[in-house]
Amino acid sequence: MATIVVHVMPKPEILDPQGKAVGNALPRLGFEGFASVRQGKRFELTVDGDVTEELLAQAREAAETMLSNPVIEDVVAVEVVN
């Protein structure tokens, strides 16, 4: 079994309120070194057997058409993890 991992992030120009809230909370626990936080999504698509080029292409298409909304999000990576 192999897994295709899709990473989706809010577009840089879109305010990320969740990331901002996390960023503001970090210093409260003593984590002082981080200038900002952005929060995204990670999808793991598991396949039976090997990842073929066709499956990878399907994953890329799913990432662009369903897993992300291009108005507010970017697909930053589609990668195979064995």
């Binding site: 879109i14 305010l15 309120p17 969740q18 369903m66 897993l67 909304n69 108005v71 507010i72």
Partner: protein, 233 residues
């Protein structure tokens, strides 16, 4: 009598209120189910508010693929009046009947308040019963209510008069250019975050100048659709 369908998705909350609003405006509400492929011959469709599919993935993102939405999209492209309220608006953006998207409120809190809106376009199937520039008060209650779109899309919406409603006095969620609701080019598809269906019966609406809970400013949405259907009949 005009028949207006109200779609129920798993997690929809306001379908009964929307049906009641249709009835109070003088129409016949028809319950439509997300898993059906049949619009049952309705003349117009309301996508009500709630948390369809738990807002999983993104608000409205999974409802978009419901069987009934194929029919709704075809009907909307054919000119049928379609109104998306709150989660229904989110579904309309996900299915690309309306541009832009909604993200989390800029202050991160769920908000529930009586909200003043200004009618910016009264030439749509859902706003023709209002005066241009009229200010109405209806409830606003959501978590992902911040309307966003790129600058070019926003400029187009403004230039084409497709901003249907703007927030007045306060921008409650960080929406670009105070946009509360928009319409498509043809004026048959309208989406907004606030809830007209909760302001349709005296005693159960927002506070009005005349009486506590007396506000019925939302009734005009449904009256507008009945006007539009009568005019096209």
């Amino acid at each position: 009598m005009a028949r207006i369908g109200v779609v129920t998705f798993p997690g929809t909350l306001d379908d009964r209120d929307a049906a009641r609003a249709v009835r109070l405006a003088g129409g016949e509400p028809v319950n439509l189910f997300h898993a059906d492929h049949d619009l049952q011959g309705v003349d117009a469709v309301v996508l009500p508010g709630g948390f369809s599919y738990g807002d999983y993935l993104r608000a409205g993102a999974i409802s978009r693929f419901s069987p009934i939405m194929e029919q709704v999209v075809d009907a909307a492209n054919g000119g049928m009046p379609v109104l998306g309220i709150c989660n229904g608006f989110q579904v309309l953006t996900e299915v690309h009947l309306l541009p832009g998207s909604m993200i989390k409120n800029n202050h991160l809190h769920f908000i529930c308040r009586d909200q003043v809106l200004r009618v910016e376009n009264n030439d749509t199937a859902w706003t023709n019963a209002y005066e241009l520039g009229e200010e109405i008060t209806i409830p606003l209650k959501n978590q992902d209510g911040q309307y966003v779109a790129d600058e070019r899309t926003l400029d187009e919406l403004e230039a084409e008069g497709r901003v249907a409603f703007r927030y007045v006095d306060v921008n409650p969620n960080g929406s670009r250019r105070n946009i509360a609701g928009i319409t498509n080019e043809r004026g048959n598809v309208v989406g907004l975050m606030p809830h007209p269906e909760h302001a349709v019966e005296a005693g159960f609406g927002p506070d009005s100048r005349e009486a506590g809970r007396g506000g019925t400013d939302g009734l005009g949405f449904f009256a507008s659709a009945l006007n539009a259907l009568l005019a096209s009949a």
